[in-house]
Symmetry: C2
Subunit: 169 residues, 2 copies
């Protein structure tokens, strides 16, 4: 399996050379959750079938970790890309409410709930209409590229009695 | 450097064979934060110079991750063991207030603040007197054992103008 750093496919600038300072303070702004010395980034390049998401990398290779802890914030009614990949996601909801599709089921999610996405499992997060959905997502630094549904897979997802009404393709 | 799984030195039972279910719900109980299907564990064996802490492993090897995400809850006025080690800690505060010593400085911490403990850096968490301090802590699954201060190191820490009043040995 060919592995790619996330920087290869997302709007990263150069990886910061310095590790994080010992303490970075949190603040809740009108525009969303922010931390000292944590840059706000685009979720993915435009055109990858998501809506209204920001990304902030809280910890990663700069701190000598083999995993990255990212914070994603999905605007009201927004959603992440529907995709699957070999690497797993370990998620903890920080704010808001929404739903997540993992495989053939949709689950309601709210603060501090845990979500585990196993390898090669279709998944998509969606914020409720009235509030943003913010969550931590832990992944391996060295991971494979996500795969989006091809035409046949998209058709099968749309026809699913369990997730057909939920998916945004 | 010889590495040891945490199970080798803490009160773990056997590692669960099954990965986490897709969604595990959170609940705030009087006794502290809890999650479905997450066992509550002792922080460390008795006698390792800590006070009033519980530990819950939210994600780890069972979910095919190379890192573990743990949740620690320190009771009001309680503290973690003062120690250092080669592996780093990446911490996000979830509830309460307290202070953390990282090297030669003490910092106030509150919800969603980030704390990074670099390799071989003395550190200790303490909850304020009036509330528990709960935090996520990300570590590598494969990591070295912590080192507590020997007599000379303890004396040097007690004499420090920066952290001498803070440390609990």
């Amino acid at each position: 399996m060919r592995m790619h750093a996330e920087a290869d496919r997302e709007h990263d600038t150069a990886t910061p050379a310095a590790p994080a300072p010992p303490v970075r303070k949190f603040r809740a702004e009108d525009a969303g959750y922010r931390w000292d010395a944590v840059p706000l980034k685009a979720y993915k390049p435009a055109g990858t079938h998501f809506q209204d998401i920001t990304r902030q990398t809280l910890f990663g290779e700069a701190e000598e970790l083999s995993s990255e802890l990212r914070y994603f914030e999905v605007g009201p009614g927004g959603h992440s890309t529907l995709e699957r990949h070999e690497h797993v996601h370990a998620v903890l909801i920080l704010q808001g409410r929404g739903r997540v599709m993992v495989g053939e089921a949709v689950h309601a999610i709210e603060p501090f709930d845990l979500v585990h996405v196993p390898p090669q499992t279709w998944h998509q997060f969606r914020a409720d209409a009235d509030a943003p959905l913010g969550f931590l997502c832990l992944v391996a630094c060295d991971r494979d590229r996500p795969h989006r549904p091809d035409a046949d897979e998209a058709e099968a997802l749309r026809r699913s009695p369990h997730v057909g009404d939920f998916v945004r393709l």
